[in-house]
Protein backbone atom coordinates (compact mmCIF):
# COMPACT_ATOMS: atom_id res chain seq x y z
CA UNK A 1 0.00 0.00 0.00
CA UNK A 2 2.66 2.39 1.02
CA UNK A 3 4.46 1.60 -2.22
CA UNK A 4 1.35 2.61 -4.22
CA UNK A 5 1.08 5.84 -2.34
CA UNK A 6 4.71 6.64 -2.92
CA UNK A 7 4.28 6.04 -6.65
CA UNK A 8 1.19 8.29 -6.72
CA UNK A 9 3.03 11.01 -4.87
CA UNK A 10 5.91 10.84 -7.30
CA UNK A 11 3.62 11.22 -10.30
CA UNK A 12 1.85 14.13 -8.65
CA UNK A 13 5.17 15.89 -7.98
CA UNK A 14 6.17 15.42 -11.62
CA UNK A 15 2.82 16.84 -12.79
CA UNK A 16 3.19 19.80 -10.44
CA UNK A 17 6.71 20.41 -11.70
CA UNK A 18 5.44 20.31 -15.31
CA UNK A 19 2.57 22.64 -14.50
CA UNK A 20 4.92 25.03 -12.68
CA UNK A 21 7.16 25.10 -15.74
CA UNK A 22 4.25 25.86 -18.08
CA UNK A 23 2.96 28.52 -15.71
CA UNK A 24 6.40 30.13 -15.63
CA UNK A 25 6.60 30.24 -19.46
CA UNK A 26 3.07 31.69 -19.70
CA UNK A 27 3.90 34.36 -17.13
CA UNK A 28 7.10 35.29 -18.97
CA UNK A 29 5.29 35.53 -22.34
CA UNK A 30 2.57 37.71 -20.83
CA UNK A 31 5.18 39.89 -19.24
CA UNK A 32 6.98 40.34 -22.62
CA UNK A 33 3.72 41.20 -24.35
CA UNK A 34 3.06 43.87 -21.71
CA UNK A 35 6.51 45.36 -22.31
CA UNK A 36 5.90 45.26 -26.07
CA UNK A 37 9.02 43.36 -26.97
CA UNK A 38 7.62 39.93 -27.67
CA UNK A 39 8.40 38.89 -31.24
CA UNK A 40 7.51 35.48 -32.48
CA UNK A 41 10.14 35.03 -35.15
CA UNK A 42 10.50 31.30 -34.99
CA UNK A 43 12.86 29.96 -37.67
CA UNK A 44 13.07 33.39 -39.35
CA UNK A 45 15.72 34.37 -36.82
CA UNK A 46 18.38 32.28 -38.48
CA UNK A 47 17.46 33.53 -42.00
CA UNK A 48 17.39 37.13 -40.83
CA UNK A 49 20.79 36.84 -39.17
CA UNK A 50 22.32 35.20 -42.22
CA UNK A 51 21.02 37.97 -44.54
CA UNK A 52 22.22 40.66 -42.19
CA UNK A 53 25.69 39.20 -41.84
CA UNK A 54 25.97 38.79 -45.61
CA UNK A 55 25.12 42.49 -46.09
CA UNK A 56 27.62 43.59 -43.48
CA UNK A 57 30.33 41.41 -45.02
CA UNK A 58 29.68 42.81 -48.50
CA UNK A 59 29.85 46.35 -47.12
CA UNK A 60 33.12 45.73 -45.35
CA UNK A 61 34.76 44.05 -48.33
CA UNK A 62 33.57 46.94 -50.58
CA UNK A 63 35.20 49.49 -48.27
CA UNK A 64 38.37 47.43 -48.16
CA UNK A 65 38.48 47.26 -51.95
CA UNK A 66 38.25 51.06 -52.11
CA UNK A 67 40.72 51.85 -49.37
CA UNK A 68 43.37 49.16 -49.64
CA UNK A 69 45.52 48.82 -52.70
CA UNK A 70 47.48 45.60 -52.98
CA UNK A 71 50.31 46.23 -55.41
CA UNK A 72 53.59 44.56 -56.28
CA UNK A 73 55.36 46.47 -53.53
CA UNK A 74 52.97 45.56 -50.77
CA UNK A 75 49.75 46.82 -49.26
CA UNK A 76 48.90 50.50 -49.27
CA UNK A 77 46.05 51.95 -47.26
CA UNK A 78 44.38 54.88 -48.95
CA UNK A 79 42.78 57.41 -46.67
CA UNK A 80 40.06 59.56 -48.15
CA UNK A 81 36.41 60.44 -47.90
CA UNK A 82 35.50 61.39 -51.46
CA UNK A 83 33.26 58.89 -53.13
CA UNK A 84 33.80 57.72 -56.71
CA UNK A 85 30.57 59.44 -57.65
CA UNK A 86 31.79 62.82 -56.36
CA UNK A 87 35.10 62.43 -58.16
CA UNK A 88 33.35 61.67 -61.42
CA UNK A 89 31.26 64.82 -61.21
CA UNK A 90 34.40 66.95 -61.04
CA UNK A 91 36.19 65.48 -64.04
CA UNK A 92 36.92 67.99 -66.79
CA UNK A 93 37.69 65.65 -69.66
CA UNK A 94 39.23 68.31 -71.92
CA UNK A 95 41.54 69.54 -69.20
CA UNK A 96 42.44 66.00 -68.15
CA UNK A 97 43.35 65.17 -71.75
CA UNK A 98 45.48 68.33 -72.01
CA UNK A 99 47.37 67.43 -68.84
CA UNK A 100 47.89 63.82 -69.90
CA UNK A 101 49.06 64.97 -73.33
CA UNK A 102 51.53 67.37 -71.72
CA UNK A 103 52.96 64.46 -69.76
CA UNK A 104 53.32 62.43 -72.94
CA UNK A 105 56.96 63.21 -73.68
CA UNK A 106 60.09 62.05 -71.86
CA UNK A 107 61.72 65.49 -72.04
CA UNK A 108 58.71 67.15 -70.49
CA UNK A 109 58.78 64.64 -67.63
CA UNK A 110 62.49 65.44 -67.19
CA UNK A 111 61.72 69.16 -67.09
CA UNK A 112 59.13 68.59 -64.37
CA UNK A 113 61.63 66.49 -62.43
CA UNK A 114 64.19 69.31 -62.59
CA UNK A 115 61.63 71.86 -61.45
CA UNK A 116 60.66 69.71 -58.45
CA UNK A 117 63.77 71.03 -56.69
CA UNK A 118 62.92 74.70 -57.27
CA UNK A 119 62.43 77.40 -59.90
CA UNK A 120 64.86 77.36 -62.83
CA UNK A 121 65.92 79.72 -65.59
CA UNK A 122 65.96 78.44 -69.18
CA UNK A 123 69.76 78.23 -69.20
CA UNK A 124 69.69 76.07 -66.07
CA UNK A 125 67.22 73.70 -67.70
CA UNK A 126 69.34 73.66 -70.87
CA UNK A 127 72.30 72.35 -68.87
CA UNK A 128 70.23 69.41 -67.68
CA UNK A 129 68.70 68.74 -71.10
CA UNK A 130 71.72 69.22 -73.31
CA UNK A 131 70.39 66.71 -75.87
CA UNK A 132 67.68 69.11 -77.09
CA UNK A 133 67.86 72.58 -78.65
CA UNK A 134 66.74 75.75 -76.90
CA UNK A 135 63.75 76.12 -79.22
CA UNK A 136 62.62 72.55 -78.47
CA UNK A 137 63.03 73.20 -74.76
CA UNK A 138 60.96 76.39 -75.02
CA UNK A 139 58.31 74.50 -76.97
CA UNK A 140 58.11 71.86 -74.23
CA UNK A 141 57.88 74.57 -71.58
CA UNK A 142 55.06 76.22 -73.48
CA UNK A 143 53.14 72.92 -73.61
CA UNK A 144 53.62 72.42 -69.87
CA UNK A 145 52.59 76.01 -69.18
CA UNK A 146 49.44 75.69 -71.27
CA UNK A 147 48.50 72.58 -69.30
CA UNK A 148 48.97 74.52 -66.06
CA UNK A 149 51.83 72.30 -64.89
CA UNK A 150 54.42 75.08 -64.85
CA UNK A 151 54.23 78.86 -64.63
CA UNK A 152 56.79 81.41 -65.74
CA UNK A 153 57.62 84.51 -63.75
CA UNK A 154 57.35 87.43 -66.17
CA UNK A 155 59.86 89.66 -64.44
CA UNK A 156 62.72 87.26 -63.73
CA UNK A 157 61.82 84.67 -66.31
CA UNK A 158 62.18 81.66 -64.01
CA UNK A 159 59.96 78.62 -64.53
CA UNK A 160 58.19 77.18 -61.48
CA UNK A 161 56.33 73.91 -61.10
CA UNK A 162 52.73 74.41 -59.98
CA UNK A 163 50.80 72.34 -57.44
CA UNK A 164 49.01 70.42 -60.27
CA UNK A 165 52.39 69.99 -61.97
CA UNK A 166 53.89 68.41 -58.88
CA UNK A 167 50.87 66.09 -58.49
CA UNK A 168 50.95 65.14 -62.18
CA UNK A 169 54.65 64.29 -62.01
CA UNK A 170 54.18 62.15 -58.90
CA UNK A 171 51.20 60.40 -60.49
CA UNK A 172 53.16 59.66 -63.68
CA UNK A 173 56.02 58.17 -61.68
CA UNK A 174 53.65 56.00 -59.61
CA UNK A 175 51.73 54.75 -62.64
CA UNK A 176 54.88 53.68 -64.43
CA UNK A 177 56.31 51.99 -61.36
CA UNK A 178 53.27 49.72 -61.02
CA UNK A 179 53.61 47.73 -64.28
CA UNK A 180 57.38 47.49 -63.80
CA UNK A 181 56.77 45.85 -60.45
CA UNK A 182 54.30 43.38 -61.92
CA UNK A 183 56.76 42.36 -64.64
CA UNK A 184 59.32 41.61 -61.95
CA UNK A 185 56.80 39.30 -60.29
Amino acid sequence: MSEDIKEEMKKLREEIAGLKKELGELTENQSRRRRGIYIDVGNHVRDYMEDAMEGVAEGISGELRKSIFIGPRGVRIIRGTESDEEEEKEINFEKTATVMSALGHAHRIKILKDLMTGGKYVNELEEKLSEITTSTLLSHLKTLEEAGLVVQEKVRGRYLITIPGRSAYKMAVKVTRFPEGREEE
Partner: protein
Protein backbone atom coordinates in the same frame (compact mmCIF):
# COMPACT_ATOMS: atom_id res chain seq x y z
CA UNK B 1 49.53 124.15 -42.51
CA UNK B 2 49.69 120.38 -42.30
CA UNK B 3 46.40 119.30 -43.92
CA UNK B 4 46.22 119.95 -47.64
CA UNK B 5 44.57 118.81 -50.85
CA UNK B 6 46.41 117.33 -53.76
CA UNK B 7 46.68 119.89 -56.54
CA UNK B 8 47.67 119.57 -60.20
CA UNK B 9 50.31 121.59 -61.99
CA UNK B 10 48.89 123.68 -64.78
CA UNK B 11 51.45 122.42 -67.30
CA UNK B 12 51.00 119.25 -69.34
CA UNK B 13 54.26 117.43 -69.99
CA UNK B 14 55.24 114.34 -71.92
CA UNK B 15 57.79 111.61 -71.24
CA UNK B 16 60.99 112.16 -73.21
CA UNK B 17 61.94 108.46 -73.20
CA UNK B 18 60.48 105.10 -72.33
CA UNK B 19 60.58 104.99 -68.56
CA UNK B 20 60.36 102.43 -65.80
CA UNK B 21 58.29 103.93 -63.01
CA UNK B 22 58.78 101.04 -60.60
CA UNK B 23 60.71 97.80 -60.74
CA UNK B 24 61.54 94.98 -58.35
CA UNK B 25 62.05 91.24 -58.78
CA UNK B 26 58.30 90.73 -58.58
CA UNK B 27 56.98 93.36 -60.91
CA UNK B 28 57.46 96.50 -62.92
CA UNK B 29 55.52 99.41 -64.33
CA UNK B 30 56.63 101.01 -67.58
CA UNK B 31 55.43 104.03 -69.51
CA UNK B 32 56.27 104.66 -73.13
CA UNK B 33 57.91 107.70 -74.67
CA UNK B 34 55.46 110.50 -75.56
CA UNK B 35 52.94 109.73 -72.80
CA UNK B 36 51.32 112.76 -71.16
CA UNK B 37 52.29 113.61 -67.59
CA UNK B 38 50.72 116.13 -65.20
CA UNK B 39 52.46 116.72 -61.87
CA UNK B 40 50.58 116.21 -58.60
CA UNK B 41 51.54 118.60 -55.80
CA UNK B 42 50.94 118.74 -52.09
CA UNK B 43 51.67 122.31 -51.07
CA UNK B 44 54.76 123.27 -52.98
CA UNK B 45 56.19 119.79 -53.33
CA UNK B 46 55.71 117.39 -56.20
CA UNK B 47 54.24 114.12 -54.95
CA UNK B 48 53.62 112.25 -58.17
CA UNK B 49 52.09 112.36 -61.64
CA UNK B 50 49.01 111.51 -63.61
CA UNK B 51 50.14 109.68 -66.72
CA UNK B 52 48.19 109.09 -69.89
CA UNK B 53 49.78 107.05 -72.64
CA UNK B 54 50.97 103.53 -73.18
CA UNK B 55 51.70 101.96 -69.83
CA UNK B 56 52.46 98.35 -69.06
CA UNK B 57 52.14 96.62 -65.72
CA UNK B 58 53.78 93.26 -65.06
CA UNK B 59 53.31 91.63 -61.70
CA UNK B 60 54.18 88.10 -60.66
CA UNK B 61 51.27 87.40 -58.37
CA UNK B 62 52.65 83.95 -57.66
CA UNK B 63 53.13 82.35 -54.26
CA UNK B 64 55.79 79.65 -54.01
CA UNK B 65 55.37 76.73 -51.68
CA UNK B 66 57.07 73.37 -51.38
CA UNK B 67 53.94 71.81 -52.85
CA UNK B 68 54.26 73.95 -55.95
CA UNK B 69 53.54 77.45 -57.14
CA UNK B 70 50.09 79.04 -56.98
CA UNK B 71 48.92 82.01 -59.03
CA UNK B 72 49.67 83.52 -62.40
CA UNK B 73 51.50 86.62 -63.55
CA UNK B 74 49.46 89.74 -64.26
CA UNK B 75 50.23 91.58 -67.49
CA UNK B 76 48.18 94.66 -68.31
CA UNK B 77 48.40 97.30 -70.98
CA UNK B 78 47.36 100.58 -69.37
CA UNK B 79 46.03 103.00 -71.94
CA UNK B 80 43.73 105.01 -69.66
CA UNK B 81 45.04 107.82 -67.42
CA UNK B 82 46.39 106.58 -64.08
CA UNK B 83 47.81 108.09 -60.90
CA UNK B 84 51.28 107.51 -59.54
CA UNK B 85 52.29 108.89 -56.15
CA UNK B 86 55.97 108.68 -55.26
CA UNK B 87 59.33 109.55 -56.70
CA UNK B 88 60.05 109.29 -60.41
CA UNK B 89 63.00 110.20 -62.56
CA UNK B 90 62.21 113.60 -64.06
CA UNK B 91 62.68 113.22 -67.78
CA UNK B 92 59.90 115.27 -69.33
CA UNK B 93 59.42 117.86 -72.04
CA UNK B 94 56.43 120.11 -72.70
CA UNK B 95 53.54 118.44 -74.55
CA UNK B 96 52.39 120.13 -77.74
CA UNK B 97 49.00 120.14 -79.45
CA UNK B 98 49.83 117.05 -81.48
CA UNK B 99 50.73 115.11 -78.33
CA UNK B 100 47.44 116.12 -76.72
CA UNK B 101 45.38 115.16 -79.76
CA UNK B 102 47.04 111.74 -79.89
CA UNK B 103 45.54 111.06 -76.49
CA UNK B 104 42.15 112.39 -77.51
CA UNK B 105 42.28 115.87 -75.96
CA UNK B 106 41.28 119.02 -77.84
CA UNK B 107 43.65 121.14 -75.83
CA UNK B 108 45.61 121.37 -72.59
CA UNK B 109 42.54 122.50 -70.66
CA UNK B 110 40.67 119.29 -71.58
CA UNK B 111 43.60 117.17 -70.39
CA UNK B 112 43.75 119.09 -67.10
CA UNK B 113 39.99 118.81 -66.54
CA UNK B 114 40.13 115.05 -67.08
CA UNK B 115 43.11 114.72 -64.74
CA UNK B 116 41.42 116.84 -62.04
CA UNK B 117 38.32 114.67 -62.17
CA UNK B 118 40.46 111.52 -61.84
CA UNK B 119 42.39 112.91 -58.88
CA UNK B 120 39.20 114.03 -57.20
CA UNK B 121 37.70 110.53 -57.55
CA UNK B 122 40.86 109.04 -56.08
CA UNK B 123 41.22 111.39 -53.10
CA UNK B 124 37.45 111.76 -52.66
CA UNK B 125 37.99 115.33 -51.51
CA UNK B 126 39.98 114.23 -48.46
CA UNK B 127 42.79 116.41 -47.33
CA UNK B 128 46.16 114.80 -46.80
CA UNK B 129 48.36 115.27 -43.78
CA UNK B 130 51.96 115.83 -44.74
CA UNK B 131 53.09 112.96 -42.54
CA UNK B 132 50.67 110.56 -44.23
CA UNK B 133 52.16 111.06 -47.63
CA UNK B 134 55.00 108.98 -48.87
CA UNK B 135 58.40 110.51 -49.08
CA UNK B 136 60.93 110.09 -51.84
CA UNK B 137 62.17 106.72 -50.54
CA UNK B 138 58.91 105.31 -49.27
CA UNK B 139 57.85 103.57 -52.47
CA UNK B 140 55.01 104.25 -54.82
CA UNK B 141 51.24 104.10 -55.05
CA UNK B 142 49.60 103.45 -58.40
CA UNK B 143 45.86 103.83 -58.95
CA UNK B 144 44.47 102.48 -62.23
CA UNK B 145 40.80 103.27 -62.93
CA UNK B 146 38.87 100.03 -63.46
CA UNK B 147 35.72 99.32 -65.40
CA UNK B 148 33.40 99.47 -62.38
CA UNK B 149 34.36 103.06 -61.49
CA UNK B 150 36.77 101.94 -58.78
CA UNK B 151 40.56 101.77 -58.79
CA UNK B 152 42.97 98.89 -59.07
CA UNK B 153 45.63 99.72 -56.51
CA UNK B 154 49.31 98.87 -56.39
CA UNK B 155 51.30 99.95 -53.35
CA UNK B 156 54.93 98.97 -53.59
CA UNK B 157 58.35 99.63 -52.15
CA UNK B 158 61.63 97.78 -52.38
CA UNK B 159 60.52 94.85 -50.25
CA UNK B 160 56.72 94.83 -50.16
CA UNK B 161 53.84 94.77 -52.61
CA UNK B 162 50.12 95.17 -52.14
CA UNK B 163 48.02 94.76 -55.26
CA UNK B 164 44.24 94.80 -55.38
CA UNK B 165 42.14 94.35 -58.46
CA UNK B 166 38.77 92.79 -59.29
CA UNK B 167 38.80 89.26 -57.86
CA UNK B 168 42.42 89.32 -56.75
CA UNK B 169 44.36 90.57 -53.76
CA UNK B 170 48.09 89.94 -53.53
CA UNK B 171 50.21 90.96 -50.58
CA UNK B 172 53.83 89.98 -50.19
CA UNK B 173 57.06 90.89 -48.50
CA UNK B 174 60.25 88.96 -47.91
CA UNK B 175 58.70 86.66 -45.32
CA UNK B 176 54.99 86.44 -46.01
CA UNK B 177 52.56 86.26 -48.88
CA UNK B 178 48.80 86.25 -49.23
CA UNK B 179 47.08 85.54 -52.52
CA UNK B 180 43.31 85.84 -52.52
CA UNK B 181 41.58 84.90 -55.74
CA UNK B 182 37.90 84.22 -56.37
CA UNK B 183 38.20 80.55 -55.43
CA UNK B 184 40.70 80.40 -52.61
CA UNK B 185 43.00 82.28 -50.31
CA UNK B 186 46.56 81.12 -49.85
CA UNK B 187 48.61 82.39 -46.94
CA UNK B 188 52.30 81.61 -46.56
CA UNK B 189 53.91 82.95 -43.42
CA UNK B 190 57.03 81.94 -41.58
CA UNK B 191 57.36 78.81 -43.65
CA UNK B 192 53.80 77.61 -43.10
CA UNK B 193 51.02 77.58 -45.65
CA UNK B 194 47.27 77.53 -45.21
CA UNK B 195 44.78 77.32 -48.06
CA UNK B 196 41.20 78.36 -47.41
CA UNK B 197 38.79 77.44 -50.16
CA UNK B 198 35.30 78.70 -50.84
CA UNK B 199 32.39 76.92 -49.11
CA UNK B 200 34.44 76.66 -45.94
CA UNK B 201 36.91 74.05 -47.14
CA UNK B 202 39.81 74.80 -44.86
CA UNK B 203 42.97 72.98 -45.80
CA UNK B 204 45.62 73.28 -43.15
CA UNK B 205 47.34 70.38 -44.95
CA UNK B 206 50.29 72.41 -45.06
CA UNK B 207 50.72 73.49 -41.54
CA UNK B 208 53.95 71.61 -41.55
CA UNK B 209 57.12 73.40 -42.53
CA UNK B 210 56.50 74.47 -46.05
CA UNK B 211 58.79 77.36 -46.61
CA UNK B 212 58.85 78.96 -50.01
CA UNK B 213 62.18 79.62 -51.51
CA UNK B 214 63.56 82.92 -50.24
CA UNK B 215 63.41 84.99 -53.34
CA UNK B 216 63.30 88.53 -52.12
CA UNK B 217 61.54 91.03 -54.27
Amino acid sequence: MNWQNYQLEKAVLKTAENAVLWRTGKGQMEISKGSLAIAIKLGDEKRGYIFHGNGRLILDTIVETREGAIGKPVEKEISAPFIMLGAVEENFTAANQEDLEKMGYEDQEAALTNATELLSRFSRGRRIHEHHCCGANDGQIFAFPSANGKFDLLVANDHSIVYKTEGLVFVTNRERSVLKSSGETVCVANGRMVVVRRHGDFRPQNLQKNAPERTGI
